[in-house]
């Protein structure tokens, strides 16, 4: 199927009659995913948003339930967001990260109703990357500029229009509802050419990385790797696959609510136990955990690297701590088992 770029605002306006539509919007210097008030707000010419759209399915601050004490006892009301949504313009790396998050929020041990309800009610319409940035290394971690993992529809930019590829049943239904026309052979050929020509310039080899991480927990290399890290959460909160959270209560008098907020393993009290013991008291231990979680533990648990190569951590880190260099250092190091 095909849709002309100048028809996009009308297409999005049409969707807004039935769905909450999120798309990249220019906000000051940066582009961010926001709920659209009008189709014309969506920008189509952008590399990627400052922070990923995972907050649409997994908000940074989210009410889980409210409670109030009345004469009859306690009343507890769950807050589940079941609105129908469309995320338009999500990049393949960010869509793949949603597929990775599905492992965390939907497995045989636990199914998170808040995330899963939103997930089931959201259609992800992706736009492939004709021109990946110099910090994009998606191709090195199992993704790519036209990867379809996690997507329902994939749009390929052929200049004046987008060729639309169906990836899932949900996507097929949305396209049918929107009444998109079929794409001609010329358009299909243009899309194929665009895909071939898109080049990911940044490559990170992961050969032998997992093997090194399996044995280098006590290696002295971590003292050097983390040294300039400030221990802030900029990388965590920019990352499409990070998913750790903290739960707090917020109450006044007899009314309150329980809230889930994102948390970061880079923060000093992240692993503070109720007993008062903290197994990760130093920045080194915390940074080591970050790398291990993404490139070893997640692989052990779900057979996938929890990094999609979007490059946001590289751009947003205040001290330019580059994960690509970290991985190269680890691979190149002689792992030793001594403490």
């Amino acid at each position: 199927m095909i849709i002309s770029k100048k028809d996009i605002p009308a297409f999005l306006d049409g969707l807004m009659a039935e769905y909450r539509v999120f798309a990249p919007v220019k906000t000051g210097t940066y582009t961010m995913f926001q709920q659209l008030k009008a189709g014309a707000e969506a920008v189509l010419d952008y590399s990627n948003t400052k922070i990923p759209p995972k907050g649409i399915l997994f908000p940074q601050s989210e009410k889980l339930f409210t409670y109030s004490l009345t004469g009859e006892g306690a009343k507890v009301e769950e807050v589940i967001d079941a609105a129908q949504s469309v995320v338009f313009g999500i990049r393949p790396c960010d869509a793949r990260s949603i597929a990775l998050l599905d492992n965390v929020f939907n497995n045989d041990k636990y199914q998170d109703p808040y995330y899963l309800t939103r997930r089931a009610n959201t259609v992800l319409v992706g736009v492939g990357c004709n021109d990946p940035c110099s910090t994009c290394f998606c191709a090195s971690v199992g993704s790519g500029p036209f990867d379809t993992a996690g997507l329902d529809l994939l749009l390929v930019d052929t200049g004046e229009a987008y060729v639309v590829e169906t990836v899932s049943e949900k996507g097929r239904e949305l396209a049918a509802k929107a009444g998109l026309t079929a794409a001609g052979d010329a358009a299909q050929a243009a899309a194929a050419r665009v895909k071939e020509e898109a080049a990911v310039t940044s490559a990170v080899s992961t050969d032998g990385l997992k093997a090194k991480l399996d044995v280098n927990f006590y290696d002295g290399i971590w003292d050097l790797i983390h040294e300039k890290c400030l221990g802030c959460g900029a990388c965590t909160y920019s990352c499409p696959t990070c998913h750790c959270f903290d739960i707090v209560d917020d109450a006044t008098g007899t009314d309150g609510c329980r809230i889930r907020n994102w948390d970061s393993c880079m923060f000093p009290l992240f692993t503070m136990h109720g007993s008062g013991h903290n197994p990760r008291t130093s920045g080194k231990e915390r940074y080591r955990n970050r790398v291990m979680h993404k490139f070893k533990y997640f692989v052990d648990n779900f057979e996938a690297v929890a990094c999609v190569g979007c490059g946001r951590c590289i751009n947003n880190c205040p001290v330019n701590l580059d994960i690509r260099e970290v991985l190269a250092d680890i691979r190149g190091s002689e792992a030793r088992l001594d403490k």
């Binding site: 110099s134 040294e227 959460g233 000093p268 205040p318």
Partner: protein, 317 residues
């Protein structure tokens, strides 16, 4: 700038060869254009990695606290003021730090570059005297360096190191006295307008605490915002919670903040933090005539009580 790089490398090399220090903290080239990154040099050979240019914006005093080794640090004006402030608070032992002071003409603000390039990716940057040529895929722009400097650099009154063991290069012309024009402008607005402005700024905050962590003066083992038993400050991204965190942090910095701007530079969301911080820097200057970090002999201004201290905050009875 090329020349300064070589001088810095030579100075660091000598320090390590003579074993005057065990470690030199400086900057090396970053992995992206217009970025440099803090680096930790332990051997004379590695000093070849050191650079000095318009992207050396981090405050390296952050890495000097409570260290047992003798450390050399490459420090610009604002960094040395942080070092002075930290020495006064017993976080740095003066005898354990060797300061390679570098007079600074300002560092480039990446947010201003990003605005100039309208979000397009910067791939190459070259300096030609007072201008920068910024190149990307299919475009090239030039801009005067002075337009692209951080606001904190443009209003900097102390570009030369205030404390140093060795000075690299020539002192730059002393900056103009900071008039805090940005703060005066904000003060002149109606309270409702300021409220609206800060609500807008803090709705961008993602609570990453890069501001706090980049600040050399923020070193509490348990920060008030991390504590959850009890939860003093809400941890949500409601702008009111974020603002309350920032107000608390600014208040904890009163009389200690040296106005280096590291917080604003670290913020990934481009929030105008200095418009809040500098209000107290200005108040301390107006009320007590004091600026933090200028001299080891100054008393810490809010630690010192004089019977005639101004008290404009009292209720009028």
């Amino acid at each position: 700038m090329q020349n300064i790089t070589n001088l810095v490398q030579d100075a660091a090399k000598k320090l390590l060869e003579d074993k005057t220090v065990d470690l030199v903290v400086g900057f090396s080239g970053g992995s992206l254009p217009l970025r440099s990154t803090p680096c930790f040099i332990r051997t004379p050979e590695d000093t070849a990695k050191l650079v000095w240019d318009l992207s050396c914006e981090n405050n390296l005093a952050n890495y000097l606290r409570k260290k047992n080794q003798k450390i050399g640090v490459v420090a610009k004006g604002c960094d040395t003021r942080s070092i002075v402030a930290l020495i006064k608070e017993n976080q740095i032992d003066r005898d354990k730090v060797y300061i390679i002071g570098v007079p600074c003409s300002g560092m480039v603000d990446r947010n201003k570059v990003e605005q100039l390039l309208e979000g397009k990716e910067l791939l190459e940057i070259t300096r030609d005297g007072d201008t920068l040529a910024l190149k990307g895929k299919g475009f090239s722009k030039t801009a005067g360096i002075s337009e692209l400097l951080h606001n904190s650099c443009r209003s900097c009154g102390h570009p030369n190191p205030v404390l140093f063991d060795q000075m690299i290069g020539e002192p730059v012309a002393a900056g103009e006295v900071d008039t805090f024009a940005d703060i005066t402008e904000m003060e002149a607005k109606a309270a409702a307008d300021r409220r609206a402005f800060f609500t807008d700024q803090f709705s961008k905050c993602i609570r990453c605490y890069a501001c706090r962590n980049a600040c050399p003066m923020c070193y509490c083992e348990e920060c008030f915002v991390d504590c959850s038993t009890p939860e003093w400050i809400g941890k949500t991204i409601d702008p009111q919670d974020s603002m309350l965190f920032q107000i608390g942090r600014v208040f904890h910095l009163a009389g200690r903040c040296v106005d280096c701007g590291a917080c604003e530079r670290a913020c990934p969301m481009g929030i105008n933090l200095t418009l809040l911080n500098r209000k107290l820097v200005k108040d301390v200057k107006d009320l007590f005539g004091a600026e933090a970090g200028l001299s080891l002999d100054d008393k810490a201004v809010l630690d010192t009580f004089a019977p005639d201290d101004p008290q404009p905050f009292l209720v009028k009875e």
